[in-house]
């Protein structure tokens, strides 16, 4: 039978605040276990949480950038369940009144644009981390992360393939990184995604039973896990089986999902307003002030690059794929106003090195100034374009000035007419047959002779000059 795939996605994005959501502990990743806690985030009795204003602002900025409606009256609720990484026995979250509702994000999927509706985005605190001891039946708990601010972003079930899920996640991650509200690091868990997926016979209007997928920490795993789950559910249904509502963990080593079983499932969170926290009123003035402070987002920037710099849509898409790269490109163009040349170098040589070393453009050892120096050396005829391309990895790896590398390697292009004339004379003397052919009208021999001069110069001769001088010499 033909099935229609229905997917919604929940994302938990860590907000880039310095301190936690309800206390003044830091939010640094990877510190010694339990070195970043206090009575509030340990859930000790008699403590009082106080809201981090910056986290609220970041959530509002994200909500606005997702085209959402910002909730004027906000309050926090307790979500009650027992789990070792949740010291209070409840998570402070938002239930009835989320900070953002009814948003949407546009994604590029299968050559067309599609709007993915955001049902809601709300603020909540993160839990700690459980590390499972092998064999002992015990777990170790690190509460450094407990209380870190999260924005949970929930879509409507608008996605229908693994490609669309990945496209959505990339767009959302880019958006949050452009806003500087999340660092987007999937491996460290700053951007966690949980797709939920169900199948239904094509044409049916009611939804099938959905399964939630967890333990996915890269875009590749997202695609693999969703594709696997579509196949698994299709097979179960085709064999007359039943899909159970459950959470399944992606095991990337085995390439399959497996049911996550927990002894502590509550299924009844008994949400109620947290009496320790007073309501938040987000005034329209505050919202407008935050809206005015929003940066130019990727899609707007892409359009501007096309109109302002005249680069092709494809280039503009790549150049704006990260904020750091877009800033890099614009810095180069300011110094060297030939956008297409800069674009070719940034998308080609630079991006290759950045990707190979896993570096963001803002940390590139080749600064925009250095790249422009290299391009200028080509323009001045000091080196050929080929040499410039050849030495780029060295410039990148050494962090040295391009001119210094050119000098060290003795790659300065020979444009001096006297030096070139000497080489040309020698080549002509060594190749009388070809000279004769040329004089008889065989123009294509010129290419051969240029090649011989280039070879004699060790690739350093200026090809334009060689061409010009050769023609003169042959005409003489």
């Amino acid at each position: 039978m033909a099935y229609e795939v229905v997917i919604g996605v929940e994302v938990h994005a860590q907000l880039r605040t310095q301190s936690k959501l309800f206390c003044a502990c830091g939010t640094t990743f990877g510190l010694t276990a339990n070195s970043q806690t206090c009575p509030v985030c340990l859930g000790l009795p008699g403590t009082l949480p106080v809201i981090n204003e910056k986290a609220v602002e970041m959530a509002v900025r994200a909500g606005l950038a997702m085209n959402g409606t910002i909730g004027v009256r906000n309050r926090f609720a307790r979500k009650n369940y027992f789990y070792p990484d949740l010291p209070k026995g409840y998570q402070i979250s938002q239930y009835e009144a989320p900070i953002c509702e009814h948003g949407w994000i546009e994604i590029a999927a299968g050559g067309s644009r599609k709007r993915v509706r955001i049902r809601r985005a709300h603020l909540e605190e993160d839990a700690g981390k459980n590390l499972h001891e092998a064999g002992s039946g015990m777990s170790l708990v690190d509460l450094n992360r407990a209380g870190t601010p999260l924005l949970e972003i929930v879509t409507e079930p608008d996605l229908s393939s693994s490609e669309e899920v990945v496209a959505y996640l990339k767009s959302l991650r880019d958006l949050l990184m452009y806003l500087d509200v999340c660092d987007g690091n999937m491996e460290e868990g700053s951007f966690r995604c949980e797709p939920n997926l169900s199948l239904r016979p094509a044409g049916q209007t009611t939804f099938g039973t959905k399964v939630e997928l967890k333990n996915i920490n890269s875009f590749k795993f997202v695609k693999d896990a969703v594709d696997y789950e579509i196949k698994r559910q299709t097979k179960v249904l085709n064999e007359g089986g039943k899909i159970y509502q459950e959470t399944r963990l992606w095991n990337h080593e085995r390439g399959e999902t497996a049911v996550m079983r927990s002894k502590e499932e509550a299924h009844d969170y008994r949400y109620f307003p947290d009496p320790d926290l007073v309501p938040m009123e987000i005034s329209s003035e505050w919202i407008e002030q935050l809206r005015e402070g929003l940066p130019e987002l990727a899609s707007t920037k892409q359009q501007r690059f096309i109109t302002e710099y005249g680069v092709p849509e494809y280039d503009a898409g790549i150049l704006t794929s990260s904020k750091a790269l877009a800033v890099y490109f614009e810095a180069c163009v300011t110094l060297y106003p030939q956008p297409k040349t800069v674009s070719n170098w940034v998308m080609g040589e630079l991006l290759r090195e950045l990707n190979n070393s896993g570096t963001e453009a803002d940390a590139s050892p080749v600064t925009p100034e250095r790249l422009v120096e290299l391009l200028t050396l080509v323009d001045q005829g000091v080196i050929s374009l080929k040499v410039a391309r050849d030495i780029f990895p060295d410039v990148y790896a050494s962090g040295k000035a391009p001119a210094q590398i050119v000098q060290e390697k003795g790659l300065t292009q020979v444009s001096d007419e006297g030096a070139l004339a000497t080489m040309i004379d020698e080549v002509l003397k060594k190749n009388p047959a070809q000279v004769g052919q040329f004089k008889e009208g065989k123009q294509q021999v010129l290419g051969f002779l240029v090649g011989q001069v280039m070879k004699a110069s060790g690739g350093k001769a200026n090809p334009g000059k060689v061409n010009e001088l050769l023609k003169k010499a042959l005409a003489g």
């Binding site: 605040t17 310095q18 301190s19 003044a24 502990c25 830091g26 010694t32 276990a33 339990n34 070195s35 970043q36 806690t37 206090c38 009575p39 340990l42 106080v50 809201i51 981090n52 204003e53 910056k54 986290a55 609220v56 309050r75 009650n80 027992f82 789990y83 070792p84 459980n130 590390l131 499972h132 001891e133 002992s136 039946g137 015990m138 777990s139 170790l140 708990v141 690190d142 509460l143 963990l249 497996a258 049911v259 996550m260 079983r261 927990s262 002894k263 502590e264 509550a266 009844d268 008994r270 109620f272 307003p273 947290d274 009496p275 926290l277 007073v278 309501p279 938040m280 009123e281």
Partner: protein
């Protein structure tokens, strides 16, 4: 509105409380008395009154995003019944199939 035994049992289970038969009976009665007392509020008209969950009159109490010193790891773990490798040590609750 009456609190049934089943509800008391469910709440006790969610709260990880092991109640005896006698306790379940006693708490059912007590909870019914409390709820019955609060039912008196129904005799007042609350039309146009916003529900409140905190002491009224206050909103937007924030703190600036500034880090202050945390407890030391030793302090954080000082009340833990069991600890190892700077972590709280607890019975494992996940079963992966």
């Amino acid at each position: 509105m009456e609190i049934t035994r089943q509800e008391v049992e469910k709440v006790a289970k969610l709260a990880r409380l092991a109640l005896t038969e006698a306790e379940t009976t006693a708490f059912s009665q007590q909870l019914n008395q409390i709820v019955g007392y609060v039912q008196k509020l129904k005799s007042f008209s609350t039309e146009g009154v916003e529900p409140t969950s905190t002491v009224p009159g206050q909103s937007n109490v924030f703190r600036p995003d500034q880090v202050q010193a945390s407890l030391s790891t030793e302090q954080a773990l000082s009340n833990a019944p069991d600890a190892e490798a700077q972590c709280f040590r607890v019975p494992k609750i996940i079963q992966e199939s």
